[in-house]
């Protein structure tokens, strides 16, 4: 059973507030839902406290706005996730680039990896 939604996640306000439509979370593409789920899962595993994620997100939103980058909410979310992962040394940039290239070229197509740990 998944835990009940963490209010720290659902009540983020201001620029960091989750995109919603009449209360329902809005994901424009499947990857947005995955990126959302990964960030929340890592918090549930106590890899980081939620406020660390929120702070990273707020920073990315501010930086992109300041530099006039018209990135979407979940692009900023993904960048925040990546920042935290790199900071905590959970993955390296090289690993990410390499894995991404494998998916892009079709060399790897193990859709979404094992379902159990």
């Amino acid at each position: 059973m998944a835990k009940d939604p963490n209010p720290e996640v659902t009540t983020m306000d201001g620029e960091a507030a989750l995109p919603r439509s009449n209360g329902e979370l809005v994901f424009e593409a499947p990857w947005e839902g995955r990126a959302f789920g990964i960030a929340v899962a890592l918090n549930e595993q106590q890899v980081y406290p939620w406020r660390s994620f929120r702070d990273a997100l707020v920073d990315h939103i501010a930086a992109d706005d300041a530099e006039g980058r018209e990135t979407t909410y979940y692009e900023r979310w993904l960048a925040s996730l990546e920042t935290l992962l790199l900071e905590q040394g959970l993955v390296t940039e090289e690993e990410l680039d390499a894995r991404m290239a494998e998916y892009e070229s079709g060399e790897r197509d193990d859709d979404w990896v094992p379902h159990t740990r």
Partner: protein, 216 residues
């Protein structure tokens, strides 16, 4: 309603081998992150499915239930809640209606409130989560205004002729939460136990709170 048979795994469709168009940078990046983290044993993909589903479907009538239970045990909170629902609910940490006000309506032995949104599906989601399908349906939206007693009866709620039924129409600016009557026989229950009795439907006003069998 079986047109979308989610078994929790079919989110993966569309990421498989046959891409007519190349995947976007963020889609590929997300895949790479998930793949690496799973390899390292930090996350499991089915756990992510469950989380996304949970958040999509269940931001939670539980928040509203906690508000109701607090009002039942704390008369001072109840007074504030009925006076200014938005503020009293914010006290408990639930908010985010993007400007909409929440008005709390108390059901009593004499007055029964029931909530609808005749125009669309406005709903006090910070406390009730996602609206149920029937709340958004055209028949509910039109019928509950014309024949509220008949509709309530279909939900199993029979009201005496001496009970005044008030149908409250939500708008983008004002959302309603019904404070149901506290059932008899629950005097000894804790706030937490009471919250578990409170149902979403009772907070929309289509049902009453049932007395739990064990305290009857």
């Amino acid at each position: 309603m079986h047109d979308d048979n989610h078994d929790g795994h079919d989110h993966h469709d569309g990421h498989g081998g046959h891409h007519p168009e190349p995947e976007s940078y963020p889609a590929l990046r997300t895949r790479a992150i998930e793949s690496l983290l799973a390899e390292k044993g930090l996350i499991a993909s089915d756990a992510i499915d469950a989380i996304v589903e949970k958040f999509e479907q269940d931001i939670g009538p539980m928040n509203g239930a906690k508000v109701v239970a607090r009002a039942w045990v704390d008369p001072e909170f109840k007074r504030r809640l009925l006076e200014n629902g938005t503020e009293a609910i914010a006290e408990m940490g639930y908010w985010g209606t993007q400007g909409a006000e929440i008005i709390v309506l108390e059901n009593t032995p004499d007055v029964h409130n029931v909530v609808v949104c005749t125009l669309c599906s406005c709903y006090p989601w910070p406390v009730l989560g996602l609206p149920p399908m029937w709340y958004k349906s055209a028949p509910y939206r039109s019928r509950v205004v014309r024949e509220p007693r008949a509709v309530l009866k279909e939900f199993g709620t029979e009201l005496g002729d001496d009970v005044e039924v008030r149908v409250q129409d939500s708008t983008a600016e004002v959302r309603y939460l019904v404070l149901p009557e506290r059932p008899e026989g629950t005097e000894r229950m804790s706030e937490q136990e009471l919250a578990a009795l409170v149902t979403r439907d009772a907070m929309i006003g289509v049902t009453k709170i049932q007395v739990p069998a064990q305290v009857r």
